[in-house]
């Protein structure tokens, strides 16, 4: 070996034998976000917004009627937690709302998933159901709220029916989309392995549509929370939506803020829980 060659070999070997000098790792230049971490930025943004809220209310830039100080909202939250609101404890309000949303989600899913799958598989199911669904689903729930009251009264039934209608369409449409995304080769492979119609449905079709269905459930529950206030406009005496609407009548802006905060926290928790459920039930999603 010549001297020059030896030097080259030694200088090449050097960084690998020195554990302190970790080489600079590189990756292909990304386009767009490409999974870059945004969590810390979002957290700081949240803190900044609260700081701005503090400053604005501290210096009385906006009347407290419009924007109560963070301290007042916190105090109001504690007082509602302690004494309740409008003759019911905070948990009674929260559980009333939760019960409505979960009942509606259950009904919407148990109707929407099979009907959506049927619409993806059967000409008649698709043809018949398309008309009412395409007609009603772009409507804002507030528009058919009066009909719910006229038809179903002012009890729980009309509230849950309103939430169910709002949740049904996204679930049903996603179940159809889940079927459309099923590759024909996967069906043919199962048939050439001797699958019967039912085995094909249970072992291939349903699991293939599951990722889309779970995503739609997450979206539907989000829709449920956003429709909640409308549902609880109907002669309610319990519920977070009711609490917000009732507080607004008395210009109790701090209670409105508490209600909004509670809805936001629950909606976030549900969305997060659904994501956990997805990563547990469909760990293969996005990997092929």
């Amino acid at each position: 070996m010549t001297d020059a060659a030896r030097t080259t070999a030694e200088s090449l070997a050097a960084p690998l034998t020195d554990p302190a000098a970790r080489p600079r790792t590189v990756a292909l230049r990304p386009f767009g976000l490409d999974g870059a971490r945004t969590g810390p930025i979002s957290a700081v943004t949240g803190l900044l917004l609260i700081a701005v809220w503090f400053l604005v209310s501290q210096h009385r830039l906006v009347p407290p009627l419009f924007l109560p100080a963070p301290g007042e909202v916190a105090a109001q939250f504690l007082s509602i937690l302690e004494d309740g609101y409008a003759g019911a404890t905070l948990w009674e309000h929260v559980s009333a709302s939760l019960l409505r949303i979960l009942a509606a989600a259950l009904i919407a899913a148990s109707l929407g998933i099979p009907l959506g799958l049927a619409m993806g598989l059967n000409r008649w199911a698709k043809g018949v159901l398309d008309t009412p669904i395409e007609f009603y689903w772009p409507l804002p729930p507030l528009a058919y709220l009066p009909l719910m009251i006229i038809w179903l009264g002012i009890g729980e039934v009309s509230k849950i029916a309103l939430l169910t209608l709002a949740m049904f369409a996204p679930i049903c449409l996603s179940a159809q989309a889940g079927l459309r995304s099923l590759p024909i080769e996967r069906v043919n492979a199962a048939l050439s392995l001797g699958a019967t119609r039912w085995q094909l449905f249970r072992s291939i079709v349903l699991p293939s549509a599951l990722p889309e269905i779970l995503t739609s459930l997450r979206i539907a529950i989000g829709v449920g929370w956003s429709t909640l206030v409308a549902a609880e406009l109907i002669a309610a005496t319990r519920g977070i939506g009711f609490m917000i609407m009732s507080a607004s009548h008395f210009l109790a802006t701090d209670v409105v803020f508490v209600g909004i905060g509670i809805i936001a926290a629950w909606a976030f928790a549900f969305s997060y829980g659904m994501r956990l459920l997805e990563s547990w039930l469909v760990p293969w999603k996005g990997k092929t």
């Binding site: 590759p183 080769e185 996967r186 043919n188 492979a189 199962a190 048939l191 050439s192 392995l193 001797g194 699958a195 019967t196 085995q199 072992s203 291939i204 699991p207 469909v282 293969w284 990997k287 092929t288």
Partner: protein
């Protein structure tokens, strides 16, 4: 025996006309043979395979397997696809056992049989892996094991190694010959690689497009020699191999009207 007689397929064309995808193809696939269909894209070779698999009805003609007419897909014809069709939510072992599950075998028998097949394709260590953890070549091995699980009478392979890199492809060809030598399965194999066709086929049928036709047929013994001697170099350097390679290349690249003449002289 699998017998294809005067099989023709017409597809509806875009402008209201018809596309003649397969024109009176006839083919016999005997026990212990590998019949390779070779041709450029659009020559009807995948159409022919889809018809044999039962995914596609014929416009005219007939297909029978041991005298029984083929009337749809079934477990007596195992299919290996070009695109891997493994189920991402099942482990490698459960993917191989899928056909046995459909057949109603008890779980323990399914697992034993699937494990045995994984050994056959050299994947015994990967039973619990998820399909997305495997490389493309390994996934095709799983596909082969899965197709063999129901003990089909014939294995239909639609360009199974077409998407693999050429090094993996050579390994897979040798693996397939091993599997064939050990199981004695008859195989219908589609490719657009002349070398692959010559290396694997006991019979090679050359097809030409518009309309898709079988224009020539060669009976070969390279694959039996490889199974016996395991010497790739001897086969690739055999002058007969090079000679056939050139003849088939001329056939494939020949203008279509000449290919039609050739088909007529064959009949």
């Amino acid at each position: 025996m699998l017998r294809v007689q005067n099989a023709s397929v017409f597809f509806p064309g875009r402008d209201g006309g018809v596309i003649h995808a397969l024109d009176r193809a006839s083919l016999d696939i005997d026990a212990n043979s590998i019949v390779v269909a070779l041709g450029a894209s659009g020559c009807g070779k995948s159409t022919l395979l889809n018809a044999i698999a039962g995914f596609l009805p014929l416009s005219e003609g007939s297909i029978t397997l041991d005298g029984q007419p083929v009337e749809g897909p079934g477990a007596d014809r195992g299919v290996v696809f070009q695109k891997d069709t493994l189920l991402p939510w099942k482990s490698v072992l459960d993917n191989v056992a899928l056909g046995l599950d459909f057949a109603g075998l008890p779980p323990r028998d399914r697992r034993d049989r699937a494990a045995e097949l994984l050994r056959l394709v050299g994947l015994e260590g990967f039973a619990k892996s998820a399909p997305h953890e495997l490389s493309g070549g390994m996934r095709q091995r799983v596909g082969i094991a899965r197709a063999l699980a129901t003990d089909p009478k014939i294995l239909l392979m639609d360009e199974p190694f077409g998407a693999l890199d050429s090094l993996t492809r050579e390994q897979m060809q040798e693996l397939l010959i091993d599997v064939w030598a050990r199981t004695g399965k008859r195989i219908f194999f589609i490719t657009h690689s002349i070398e692959e066709a010559l290396f694997l086929g006991t019979t090679v049928v050359v097809m030409s497009p518009r309309p898709g036709r079988i224009v020539a047929r060669f009976d070969l013994d390279f694959v039996r020699r490889f199974a016996a001697e395991r010497d790739v170099h001897a086969i690739l350097s055999d002058p007969e191999f090079g000679d056939l390679h050139n003849r088939i290349r001329d056939l494939v690249h020949r203008p279509h009207h000449t290919a039609v003449h050739r088909a007529e002289t064959l009949q």
